[in-house]
Amino acid sequence: MTNLAIYIIRRLLWMIPVLFFVIVITFGLMHLAPGGPWDREGRQLSPQVVNNLNVKYGLDKPLPQQFLTYIWGVVHFDFGDSLKSPGQHVSDRILQSWPYTFTLGAVAFILLVPIGIGLGVIAALRQNSLLDYTALGLATAAASTPNFVVGIFLIIVFALGMNKLTDGNFYFPTGGMPQPFNPFQVELIMPVITLAALPTAYIARLTRSSTLDTLRQDFVRTAWAKGLKSRLVVMRHVLKNSLIPVVTALGPTFAFLITGSFITETLFSIPGIGRAFVTSIAGRDYTMILGTTILFAVLIALVNLVVDVLYVFIDPRVRLTD
């Protein structure tokens, strides 16, 4: 157990150089991109105003100096002010928008795991049955439909269509997400389906193929030859092995879900971080881009760490070294 603690601490420390390089690359790319935060559509700001703004936000300094100033701030957990929302800290803007994204992503994930794994396992155990073909067909359809199509389809059918059919008595609302951190809002239903369709299909297909593969393994034949009940063969011998790669895939899937989807958030007017991120890139809101990227990098690194630690518990062959 102490080994595990040392491992975790070491991995957490490793995040520091990782984050440093994430910042270097983001910072570099960001400034390489043409345009700047003060560009406007149509009438431009006067050079005098632009100059004053640059001085105010330190953008007049040479890039290396700007970089060091930024790093110095990050070390003190100061991510600067948003260039596009004057007077607002980047950390405040992130703390405002991320709860919406997190709630949406977490609900999607909680539904995705049992549905994806369940469909995959059932399809594998009843290979080539009608059930298998149905599950596989659904998964293929979901995996090959872009989420803006799914989202718009849901809006047309369950919001507009049902509104008309029931004379406005019963339909799913599209009006954003009224509260963060509340998983039980009817407004969540359609965005969750839109967001989760593709990863659910992916997990179902992965589970199915991994389970089919395990069913053919020698040790499963050994389990049958022992005279075990089929339920035990499946639970103890098949699933314990076939779900290992699924857990590996669930980590990045979770990271993907809680870092937000621009399309889902835009379609359902959810004030989440996916939208904030894309908008900040388009607007060259340098501090916002960096702040969001750092958050995403931390989230992904943490999720990967959790998956690696989980491995120790699900696969005894894994030893934590390095």
């Binding site: 393994q217 020698d218 040790f219 034949r221 050994t222 389990a223 049958w224 030859a225 022992k226 005279g227 075990l228 009940k229 035990l232 103890r236 011998h237 314990k240 092995n241 290992i244 699900i314 696969d315 005894p316 062959r317």
Partner: protein, 360 residues
């Protein structure tokens, strides 16, 4: 010998593939007495393993037992319902497999995998099963058994894993243990230990054993009786000593000639059996072995011989029989053992494993 424990009667197991029906086991009849050790030998793909899997009704898809009876203590295994067959497996008849590296569940403790073989049946209570795991591991000579039960398979060496598999097989004190190539995947010194162990267990516990192998030496050291299979059929059967001394089927003779002998001066070349075993979706007419047989006569090509008694307790499926072959023909067959060049050529043409030699 004692009473008949298992009687397989005209067993047919076929695989329904897109290329056609593969007659993997084609009318096999055999029996095992209580406490007896029976060897089943033949090249890869001759139906040995499928015969064994049929006995436990574990034939993989798309295979099915299409005809025949498997009588175990007077009851027909092929007619068992799901619950009966489940309780039969591992309890009355246990099986250990060829590759101990892949036959144990990698994410479950070895001790638990053995314990589970007992808790699946009602012979031992749960608490007794737990204590018996250590006993069983000791019995198969796993050192430090008390601590090893908590290990995972990857912490065991190949030989230790096969011992654990044997312990699992013996867990319910089955009356028959089927061992499918139990030593093939192990290195030579470990093989010898495992053979020694199996011999001893058979003697101590009186468990009947069915040993499936292509290794004639293993049969000689372990078995009382041997069944030789070719292309899904039994071609010869008899007591081991008798078969080794005077094999009557040319296939048995070739198999024996293809094994090097340490106790005999190397007078003769090793004989390899020319060609490949037949395609079981479309076997040759007449005797299935005739295209590869050095002593073939015209009748072999049209008419398939039945199993007939050739000596006391020995049957063979052959029109010619080795005792009727002229000495000079035998000498010629021995001499025709492939020249080095021909052997190389054949190796290049055929997949390496099944290419030239029968077993060994």
């Amino acid at each position: 010998m004692g009473q008949i424990l298992l009687q397989v009667d005209d067993l047919h197991t076929q695989f329904f593939t897109s290329r056609g029906v593969v007659r993997a086991v084609d009318g096999v009849s055999l029996h095992i007495d209580a406490g007896e050790t029976l060897g089943i030998v033949g090249e890869s793909g001759c139906g040995k393993t499928i015969t064994a899997l049929s006995i436990l009704r574990l034939v993989p898809d798309p295979g099915r037992i299409t005809a025949g009876k498997i009588m175990f203590r007077g009851r027909d295994v092929t007619k068992f319902d799901d619950d009966e067959i489940r309780d039969f497996r591992g309890n009355d008849v246990a099986m250990i497999f060829q590759d101990p590296m892949t036959s144990l569940n990698p994410v479950t403790k070895v001790g638990f995998q053995i314990e589970e073989a007992m808790t699946a049946h009602n012979r031992f209570s749960a608490s007794l099963a737990r204590t018996r795991v250590v006993e069983l591991l000791k019995r198969v000579r796993v050192p430090a058994a008390e601590s090893r039960v908590k290990d995972y398979p990857h912490q065991f060496s190949g030989g230790m894993r096969q011992r654990a598999m044997i312990a699992m097989g013996l867990a319910n004190e089955p009356s028959l243990l089927i061992a499918d190539e139990p030593t093939t995947a192990l290195d030579v010194t470990v093989q010898a230990q495992i053979i020694q162990l199996m011999k001893q267990l058979n003697r101590e516990l009186g468990t009947a054993m069915m040993l499936i192998t292509h290794n004639m030496a293993l049969v000689a050291s372990l078995c009382q009786r041997v069944v030789v299979m070719y292309a899904g059929r039994i071609v010869e059967e008899g007591p081991v000593e008798q078969i080794f001394k005077s094999p009557q089927h040319p296939y048995t003779w070739s198999l024996l000639r293809s094994v090097p002998r340490v106790d005999e001066a190397r007078k003769d070349r090793l004989v390899s059996i020319h060609g490949l075993p037949p395609d079981l979706t479309n076997p040759p007419p007449g005797c299935k072995f005739h295209p590869r047989c050095p002593f073939v006569i015209d009748r072999c090509k049209i008419d398939e011989p039945g199993l007939s008694e050739v000596a006391a307790n020995q049957v063979a499926r052959c029109w010619v029989l080795m005792r009727n072959v002229k000495d000079e023909d035998v000498a010629a067959a021995k001499a025709s053992a492939l020249s080095l060049d021909a052997a190389k050529k054949l190796k290049a043409e055929a997949p390496p494993e099944v290419g030239t030699v029968a077993g060994g």
